[in-house]
């Protein structure tokens, strides 16, 4: 019993890291995503306003900007650490205790890491860097 108590008092550093990423991803998703969905997903396709991704030339020039690349990396990758945490616990709440296990953690948080890598690669290879 004494051994159990000592083990429980150890700070949960990994949990702290995932919790921090969960909070940061959540705030980024809350502040940035709705306007992208509204402008790029609704107003643009309905031709209500001109949007940068409606034409190849404006979109590729936009994607070449290093500040835009950095912004898009944060916009796309960071929320996935939030989503991973939420969806894992959603499964637990809906009666899937296996979502608590280490393999499940590897799948969900590993998935967020993979998406970060893919986003990095897509942003580096899609449009050549331009400072104009």
């Amino acid at each position: 019993m004494r051994h159990d108590v000592a083990r429980k008092r150890r700070p949960a550093f990994t949990h702290l890291i995932w919790w921090f990423l969960f909070a940061q991803g959540g705030i980024i998703a809350a502040i940035l995503i709705p306007v992208h969905v509204l402008v790029q997903g609704i107003l643009g396709p309905l031709h209500i306003v001109p949007v940068v991704d409606r034409h190849y030339d404006t979109w590729i020039r936009f994607l070449g900007n290093p500040i835009v690349k950095l912004y898009l990396l944060v916009l796309v990758a960071a929320p996935f650490f939030h989503f991973a945490h939420r969806l894992r616990y959603l499964l637990v709440d809906l009666g899937v205790p296996a979502a608590r296990t280490l393999p499940a953690q590897a799948v969900f948080y590993g998935g967020a890491v993979v998406i970060t890598g893919v986003t990095f690669w897509v942003l580096l290879t899609t449009a050549p860097l331009s400072f104009g």
Binding site: I33, D57, F83, L87, L90, L94, A127
Partner: protein, 149 residues
């Protein structure tokens, strides 16, 4: 956010008498009925809040795909036009707004700042979060529209 209860809980000593000496301790596994979250409005809204992650994730994956498609060159690129995509975005926008509302409202509970030894009221903190959301939205919309032709 999520419960911190263990899914394996030992029974209290009094009730352990039924277990014979030497056998493994009996475990209590709390079981929730599958539809527990449909019983109360608060449970339902909690599950909806957690579920917002899925449509938002799908929309961001679409955005990543949209970025990647720009590498196909001017002839292969065509902007999203379909009614199905607009309907999908309208549904996602509903979930996105609910995520923003619930997450930014939480800041009033989490953030605790003192100014001149007086705690800043949580209403002010929540208002500042919503103001930041508004300003960021206006700036991003201006950039997405301003760089178009």
């Amino acid at each position: 956010m999520e419960t911190v209860t263990s899914d394996v809980v030992k029974e209290p000593p009094g009730s352990a008498e039924a277990a014979s000496a030497g056998s493994a301790p009996r475990v209590y596994k709390p079981e929730m009925p599958l539809g527990w979250w449909l019983r109360q409005r608060h449970y339902f809204l909690y599950i909806v809040r957690e579920f917002t992650a899925l449509p938002l994730a799908l929309w961001l994956l679409w955005l990543l795909f949209e970025i990647q498609r720009a590498s196909t060159g001017p002839k292969g690129y065509y902007p999203p036009e379909s009614a199905a995509f607009v309907v999908f975005s309208v549904i996602v926008l509903g979930f996105a707004l609910y995520h923003s509302y619930t997450f930014l409202s939480l800041a009033g509970v989490i953030i605790n700042i003192k100014l001149l030894d007086k705690p800043i009221p949580s209403r002010v903190i929540v208002l500042s979060q919503f103001a930041a959301w508004f300003v960021a939205s206006v700036v991003i919309a201006a950039v997405l529209i301003g760089f178009a032709r």
